[in-house]
Symmetry: C2
Subunit: 410 residues, 2 copies
Amino acid sequence: MIIDPRAGLSCERSDTAPRPPGTFELLATEGTARAGRLWTAHGPIDTPCFMPVGTYGAVKGLVPDELVAVGSQVILGNSYHLAHRPGAALVRELGGLHAMMGWSRAILTDSGGYQVFSLRGLQRIDDDGVDYRTHFDGSAHRMTPKSVLETQAALGSDICMVLDHCPPADAPALELRRAVDRTTRWAELASELRPTILAPTQLCFGIVQGATDLELRRAHIETMAALPFDGLALGGLSVGEPPAQMHATMHAIAPLMPATKPRYVMGIGTPIDLLEAVAAGVDMFDCVMPTRNARNGQLFTRAGKLNIRRAENKSDRGPIDPECGCPTCTRFSRAYLRHLHAQDDPLFGRLATLHNLFFFHAWVARMRQALVAGTFAAEIARMSAELASAAPEPAPQPTPPSGEGDVPPA
Amino acid sequence: MIIDPRAGLSCERSDTAPRPPGTFELLATEGTARAGRLWTAHGPIDTPCFMPVGTYGAVKGLVPDELVAVGSQVILGNSYHLAHRPGAALVRELGGLHAMMGWSRAILTDSGGYQVFSLRGLQRIDDDGVDYRTHFDGSAHRMTPKSVLETQAALGSDICMVLDHCPPADAPALELRRAVDRTTRWAELASELRPTILAPTQLCFGIVQGATDLELRRAHIETMAALPFDGLALGGLSVGEPPAQMHATMHAIAPLMPATKPRYVMGIGTPIDLLEAVAAGVDMFDCVMPTRNARNGQLFTRAGKLNIRRAENKSDRGPIDPECGCPTCTRFSRAYLRHLHAQDDPLFGRLATLHNLFFFHAWVARMRQALVAGTFAAEIARMSAELASAAPEPAPQPTPPSGEGDVPPA
């Protein structure tokens, strides 16, 4: 079953009275899972919600109308990239990120910290921030809890993330604890500075660290919950730990996060990750997978991942999935898509991205609708069974080119 | 003045009774210039008409709906490319080029000869055809007057071109005459074979050669006019001769072509080329310029060509042209386009292509509407003045990548 990810979206309806930005309505719960609605200055977001990544102020190759057509309610922009290309001051001069790219729905931006911390050999972290050289031109800059809010104020983000310290999954216990403490201090500072930097309509989320150390996570949630954030995120997941451990951590920790605020797990995930996260009580997710994999020829279907390059698609007049209602499947065949991919036509990446985003949005919308209908347990059992019966993973793809969220190796 | 290139297009109206494919209605003339309507199995084409190039079964990056939105009535496919990628038999198996790419308006295909003759060192021409090795994989093939019709029959083109021999602009007189004679024999053979190869609804155009030798051209027009083609093309123009000589040749020769059939000059041109061609009495044109230049950052405006990379566009919140009604100018700023280009986002090429095609279609539609209104002389005077007052050419662009129509150097 592939549902229409646009069906019933609050941002497409006019019969719901707008609420002040930051309002989070809990609409349904089943076990630890929940459905809700988060209000922003650019409209409501029905949760659980998947957020496509638009690193540089565009979901690569797509115009805003197409994002609306596949059911995107909110997109993510990368502050590190935008701060340097085209520059936060220029984005502000152009009217903010929404005006620049012509997107009228919500935008969440990360702090840029994750990208800067990944600039191995090009950064030096201290207790007040991080000095770094960009991967663009090696120019020297400093990032602080204050500067990332200033950047996001300039971008005009609806949801701003504080600066946190996200260590690698295999960091020793002491480094992990120091990163948590630093994240706390930076969050406290961000809370203080926020009223003077962000507009009153811009939301601000805190970030919980602690890797897979449940005690550390629990303690950090308590600390962060006491600060006046509009939502809390789990950072430091999907950074190298095994998926099962990541899922177990979400299940143990997400229910401990304040129930009255939206919960966001950063940087996930696969369809199974999303299933586990929603079941654990998470509301928001972002991941480059649907967009990046699309450009590399990998399409998501109910029957598993489809590599469009495979010979059996060569003369296949059928769509990627005959039951899919996306703008690609309703118009184009596998054979044509394979041809476009082989010719490196930019139309391929565009059509593949539309399909994959539709798939991810429909996957999450299915859980959201089941929560509202009170049939979540049965629905995720069916969804798990579908994943289990899907074809095994195809051979690994070649390392994809950089460009979304990531920073190339220094 | 930028008019709406879609306004009044016959292919968008239902109040004109369809006529049999091949019917050419002359609707208005002024001096040597004319406006007409050519009927195909996929609808009418209002002439004069510019045809975008979709080498591999796609105008790079665009879906058919977007071509409709900018006023494309007919697109050109390249037989040489399609015959090898994905292969003519496969295109036939997929229902033909229209079905494969989801385009319901007319398609013209070249014979592929021009590309094969440009495979320097990889081809050998004889009186019956040409042996060649592809630039794709070096595989050996033979192209004949018969094989190019078979390819175009498989593609399902609405307008098929015969095989001709197009020598370089600087070819010696003897080679030129031999090429004309060979083109004639091949055209005669094509005329004979056509009923057994092409569907009755597929049109077939002959090609006149003779470079800038007016005597040779006149004689060849007489010969070709006696054959039962649905239209005649001028080949061998814009192949290296100076623009003024090309224009003079068109003015001397086009009026001698049969008035009752559509006239097509292959591979042109610039806005001034199109002005000269329409004034000379030509009805159809194709050129990679608007699409290829778009991807390289060059945008056509009433004020001349705009290089989006230039620093003055960096913070320009205005559109490419404030009077342009294209899907790009009505939604996006120069600053955003410059940013997308700098980030190599595929959205840039798409938006730039839409703008340039809109510009070319509007440019030709303006002449077409003036012809119908009986104001052509005054209109082209205004258009010439606009071109003359436009900014001088910017510095030359770097050599663009291949991909549309051309074959990379062997």
